[in-house]
Amino acid sequence: MPNLLSVIRRLGHAVVERIWRLGFAARFFIAILKYSGASFRRLPLTLREIYFSGVLSLLIILVSGLFVGMVLGLQGFETLQRFGSTEALGIMVALSLTRELGPVVAGLLFASRAGTSVTAEIGLMKATEQLKAMDMMAVNPIARVVAPRFWGGVFAMPLLAAMFSAMGVLGGWLIGVVFIGVDDGAFWSQMQAGVDWRYDIWNGVVKSFVFGIAVSLIAVFEGYDSVPTAEGVSRAITRTVVTSALTILALDFVLTSFMFRGTS
């Protein structure tokens, strides 16, 4: 049975490899937190990363938010019409955006727009041995390169998710009220009566903050841990998107089951 043995051996190797990487990622996270003092003392470093991962993601986030809200408006109207309660369109759009779609879709977009570029940047720095050169000059690459990118992402993500939700609500309003003709007052008043600041909006912000930490950590880790070749960097970028997407969706389920349990 040499064939079966080698299969089992390869399987075991893959599992051990995953656990190894997970442990390294955890240690890496601690190291980022430990050396992140510099990214706050030298604020321009972090500001630059907020510009790259936040400001440059604005367009895709705002446009996607608008379109997701418009689709929600159309589909929600179609369904609510059957029950004769189209006035509830506002609360439906607002709740689905602030609770779920805002943080999750903004997180997925953020991972593919900003996370990939962070991974590519750090991976290429590693491939061209810039990180080693920094180490030689007694500059800690985690403090100088990794931590500002991490904090830039963590800071930008909740703001992007909030903008996504706000644009989505406006998109739903545009379709529902302006084009289809749902009553404007009922749209907003039902929404305001049903959406709670603490329960719905704040939980959404907490979610997007958690997603920001997860996506930023995955992006910087994959870049830092990439094989320093052209192929290795490209694989690291792919892994960033795949791992971020899976992590966001899994975390979303866990957070939702904690936050919105038992009521309504």
Binding site: P44, L47, R48, I50, Y51, G54, V55, L58, F83, S85, A94, T98, A156, P158, L159, L160, A162, M163, S165, A166, M167, V169, W188, M191, Q192, A193, V195, D196, W197, R198, Y199, D200, I201, V205, G262, T263, S264
Partner: protein
């Protein structure tokens, strides 16, 4: 010199994000739970609460004056004990009547407080003595049908 332009963009980004949050807080949500900061607790016991939910509204004369914070079953009397957080600005007389109503035919259920005439007011932690349970539609229909059937027999 590039840095000042960068600062401008980051400032713009942060301002936009904060504006979106304020929009969500004020226009989408209504900060209602923040306004109910000064609250006191009232209890009420019901035989049947129907579909009443935690965080449901407590209304007096149709105006929201509080939220339901807890619903549990009294193990001794098998009654449902509903705990409410009521806005501290409103005091209710001792003989206030608590009933469970439904908003519209398919709407959510809420606790309605019908004010009595007593001069003493309910304090925090008091239990409302007079309550009326939720109307269970099936019971009402079966009562109606039985009374109809009884009418039909009388005429024979």
């Amino acid at each position: 010199m590039n840095r000042t332009v960068l600062d401008l963009w980051v400032g713009f980004f942060v301002a936009l994000g904060v504006a979106a949050l304020i929009f969500l807080a004020l226009k989408v949500g209504n900060l209602s739970s923040a306004r109910l900061s000064e609250t006191y607790v009232l209890h009420a016991k019901f035989d049947n609460i129907g579909g009443l939910k935690v965080r449901g509204p407590v209304k007096s004369a149709g105006v929201v004056v509080g939220r339901i914070s807890e619903i549990r079953l009294d193990p001794a009397t098998y009654e449902a004990v509903v705990t409410m957080n009521v806005d501290g600005r409103f005091q209710f007389p001792k003989d206030t009547f608590a009933s469970i109503y439904t908003a519209g035919l398919l709407g959510e259920q809420y606790v309605g407080l019908d004010v009595g005439g007593d001069e003493k007011v309910l304090k925090s932690g008091d239990t409302i003595a007079k309550t009326q349970s939720a109307v269970v539609l099936e019971k009402m229909i079966s009562q109606f049908l039985f009374s109809k059937a009884a009418d039909g027999q009388d005429k024979k």
